[in-house]
């Protein structure tokens, strides 16, 4: 016969198995946080990933050599100090003493060099390899890592703060299979692809990032990233308590904003900028006045308030707000302003009217809020005499198609909407320097300016970047729209406190506490 006490134990076990998970039972006092996102990471090898969802996780496991504050100023990271030679071709980094990798090994200048060499090795297939700049070699002496460049490359220091520039512990790539071993605030525990990634706090962590207040180990003990692709199911997980934090849909975000049981976070340091660009090699979009007229027809205020529920802001520059040299007031003097009547007049004089419109393709990618924006945009254009046929593609297919269409010099003209993000205005180089990503490159004059800005620093560089922006905006090659534009929203229950989002929508959990 089973005793009463034993029956209670059995009941407790059954209840625990039915309503809790194993980790809850094992560590009752551990503070756990579950984050539900739409997409899983594609890899945890920080030197092989490009998508934000992957970088958001790798940024928690791995640290960067340098860090960046809200104002764009550069601060120490794994390197306590750094110097640039007068010719700008040699960088020396002093690696902090006593940094421990998650497996207990020491992260020193030698480890930093090994990681750098791997990041640059063509065999790594690093999608961000070009952004590391023209590095020709590296050397180690004591705790100093020296990096040599073939020419001056001022964006280098800023790039070293970005989530794309993670430094790995050599033990992570010493074996045949990659192991995510870093020095970051969270240690890798397990990963079930397309299901969940489990991390735990790094007890040895010493923070150097100025965006974070907590100097040591994160307050939460366990961090789980769950994949819930369906937005409605993600919200159900948040409401049922299965997740503490989620990526909300844009529609839900507006409701959560006014619900006291939840908190909505909108990232401010995304480095994201949405733009309109043109197939300027195809007439009549080779005509500046026509491009300007299209820019004048675009009601950015309406896109921000209607399509994005006032959760984004209009932006005047091609460089995202908060990045080095971004000056919204200055850019406003160069770019076209919303003026549908003037747009109508320009197009009318060119022979295009609402009854006999200019036919263009509006080539866009599929993202939350963007679909609605494109519909309003289509109406805006129709009102001034431009008939825009929307063609939507998934993001990966979009850039591939863009590359192909931008090579053409005839056929139907197209207007693009696209987004860029980074921690430095140098992303203009990758987009507009010929041939440019997706063949957006323009001409020798702009190429020269884009090369020059890389070789300047401080105010001189800011001035050169302003020249580039002035060129792009006054010639209406680019029409800035909004900032940010993707993955910038997070929501949590009201129990979660001090969550922050850093540059390139990195997720900062170091200061997070979960109240009872």
């Amino acid at each position: 016969m089973i005793s009463r006490k034993r029956t209670h134990r059995l009941k407790a076990l059954v209840i625990a198995l039915s309503f809790g998970n194993a980790s809850t039972m094992v560590a009752a006092n551990a503070v756990e946080l579950t984050v539900a996102r739409a997409v899983d990471a594609d890899s945890l090898d920080a030197q092989k990933v490009a998508i934000t969802q992957s970088l958001q996780v790798t940024n928690l496991i791995f640290d960067t050599l340098l860090t960046m504050d809200k104002d764009g100023s550069i601060h120490p990271g794994l390197a306590s100090d750094w110097r640039v030679a007068d010719d700008g071709k040699t960088y020396t980094f002093t690696i902090r003493d006593g940094i421990k990798c998650h497996d207990g090994s020491i992260f020193d200048s030698k480890a930093a060099r090994e990681s750098l060499v791997r990041a640059l090795d063509p065999a790594t297939l690093n999608p961000n390899r070009s952004a590391w700049g023209p590095i020709t070699g590296s050397a180690v002496e004591g705790n100093i890592l020296t990096v040599s460049l073939s020419e001056r490359y001022d964006p280098f220091a800023a790039f070293l703060t970005s989530i794309q520039a993670a430094f790995l512990c050599p033990s992570s790539f010493a074996g045949k299979e990659f192991k995510p071993i870093g020095t970051g605030p969270f240690k890798f525990v397990s990963w079930t692809r397309n299901d969940r990634i489990q991390l735990e706090a790094n007890a040895d962590y010493k923070n150097a990032n100025p965006l974070i207040e907590n100097p040591g180990k994160p307050h939460i003990d366990k961090l789980t990233f769950k994949v819930i692709p369906e937005a409605t199911a993600r919200m159900a997980a948040l409401r049922s308590g299965e997740a503490d934090m989620v990526e909300p849909s844009l529609e839900e975000a507006a409701d959560l904003k006014i619900d006291r049981n939840f908190k909505l976070y909108t990232a401010e340091l995304t480095g994201q900028q949405m733009l309109v660009a043109f197939t300027w090699k195809i007439g009549p979009l080779d005509n500046l006045e026509i491009r300007k007229a299209i820019g004048m027809a675009l009601n950015r205020e309406a896109y921000a308030s209607i399509a994005f529920a006032d959760l984004v802001r209009t932006a005047n520059c091609t460089v995202a707000p908060n990045l080095f040299s971004a000056d919204q007031a200055l850019c406003a003097t160069w770019g076209v302003n919303y003026d549908p009547e003037e747009a109508k007049a320009i197009l009318s004089s060119a022979g295009y009217t609402p009854d006999d419109p200019l036919k263009v393709k509006l080539l866009v990618s599929k993202l939350a809020g963007w679909d609605e924006m494109h519909q309003i945009m289509q109406q805006d254009l129709a009102a001034v005499g431009v008939q825009a046929e929307i063609e939507t593609r998934e993001l990966a297919a979009f850039y591939d198609y863009m590359k192909e269409v931008n090579e053409r010099t005839d056929g139907e003209p197209a207007v693009w909407t696209l987004g860029m993000s980074g921690v430095d205005p140098d992303y203009l180089y990758f987009l507009w320097r010929r041939p440019g990503a997706s063949n957006m490159g323009l001409n020798a004059e702009l190429d020269a300016m884009l090369e020059e800005q890389r070789k300047l620093s401080g105010d001189a560089r800011a001035a050169k970047i302003h020249d580039i922006e002035k060129y792009l905006l006054t010639n209406a090659y680019a029409i800035p729209l909004l900032s940010p534009g993707w993955g910038w929203l997070m929501a949590s229950t009201s129990r979660v406190e001090n969550f922050k989002m850093g540059f390139m929508v990195s997720l900062l959990f170091n200061d997070v506490t979960v109240s009872e």
């Binding site: 070009s130 369906e230 159900a236 998934e394 850039y399 591939d400």
Partner: protein, 307 residues
């Protein structure tokens, strides 16, 4: 019997070979470039870096050589590596295949547990109120969108009642997606069971069985159900094959970690090696299941063996 099984297995192998060759061609017949796609979200990728990756992946070789190499590698158990993340395709698929099988089986079991009794009830009460009611339920089951039913399930059982989890791939997580799949597919089973039984119940040997004074439950369960099962097994085979590949929506709604979801993600990201791998693994699974059903069919119906 051995001849029959050998013939079926050989046919299955031939089908799989054709699928592998066709999927090898896939990368060359769809528009777009896999390497540009791979670098799509990395604006910093230079043309030199793209050319280098193309060479490393062997995409600069002639098409026939690429397809030949692909087929050769598949036979060695190598389905290549994913464009996103550079992970072995076979490993990723094999991690999820058990989940997909598990959910397909669970969904099928629910569909059979509900569908067969309902069909049986409708056939026995042909033309009466119970028959009409069952068919109304069947039409409702066929008409309800899986997506909608799944979300309603989540809202009721996870959010309102807090009994079951919203997302995941554990044993408690299978209940809601299996119910959703079962409820939406039981209608087909019910209709097939009904029509098969109605046909069998009109046969002379059933009349003879009744005339011999057998009890009604003996007539129905022993003499009528077995011949009717032949049609039901056919439907089960088709339904199972459909569930293996067609449960993508349910996998998405309940975040069930199956190969369907992986395939959709790969299609959105144009991860060709993963799509090719999915086609090969999915087609092989369907061929294996169909072969097993064929063999089972010949056990149930001796006439098939004779043929």
């Amino acid at each position: 019997m051995l001849y029959l099984v050998s013939r079926k297995v050989l046919l299955a192998l031939f089908t799989v070979l054709v699928v592998i060759i066709l999927s090898g061609f896939l990368i060359h017949v769809v528009p777009g470039d896999p390497v540009t796609t791979m670098m799509a979200r990395s604006v910093t990728a230079s043309p030199e870096a793209i050319a280098e990756i193309r060479q490393r992946l062997g995409l600069d070789l002639p098409v026939w050589r690429q397809v030949g190499l692909y087929v050769w590698r598949v036979f060695q158990g190598d389905l290549g590596t994913t464009v996103r993340g550079n992970e072995p395709v076979l490993t990723l698929l094999m991690q999820r295949l058990p989940n997909t099988f598990m959910l397909a089986v669970a969904g099928l079991v629910v569909a059979l547990l509900i569908g067969i009794p309902l069909g049986f009830l409708a056939a026995v009460n042909r033309g009466r109120l119970a028959d009409t009611a069952v068919m109304v339920v069947a039409v409702f089951g066929v008409s309800v969108p899986t997506f909608w039913l799944g979300l309603i399930m989540i809202q009721v059982f996870a959010v309102k009642l807090g009994l079951l989890p919203v997302a995941g791939s554990g044993w408690r997580n299978i209940i809601l997606p299996a119910l959703t799949l079962g409820l939406t597919h039981c209608a087909l089973v019910a209709r097939m069971t009904r029509s098969a039984l109605v046909e069998v119940l009109g046969e002379d040997y059933i009349r003879t069985a009744r005339a011999r004074g057998l009890r009604e439950h003996q007539v129905l369960l022993v003499h009528a159900l077995r011949p009717a099962l032949i049609s039901i097994v056919t439907v089960v085979g088709l339904l199972f094959a459909y569930l293996l590949g067609g449960q993508v929506i349910v996998e998405n709604v309940f975040s069930w970690n199956g190969i369907g979801r992986l395939a959709v993600q790969a299609m959105l990201e144009r991860d060709y090696p993963m799509i090719q791998g999915f086609i090969v693994v999915f087609a092989t699974s369907v061929v294996v299941v169909s072969t097993l059903i064929d063999v089972l069919y010949s056990f149930l119906d001796p006439r098939t063996r004779m043929q």
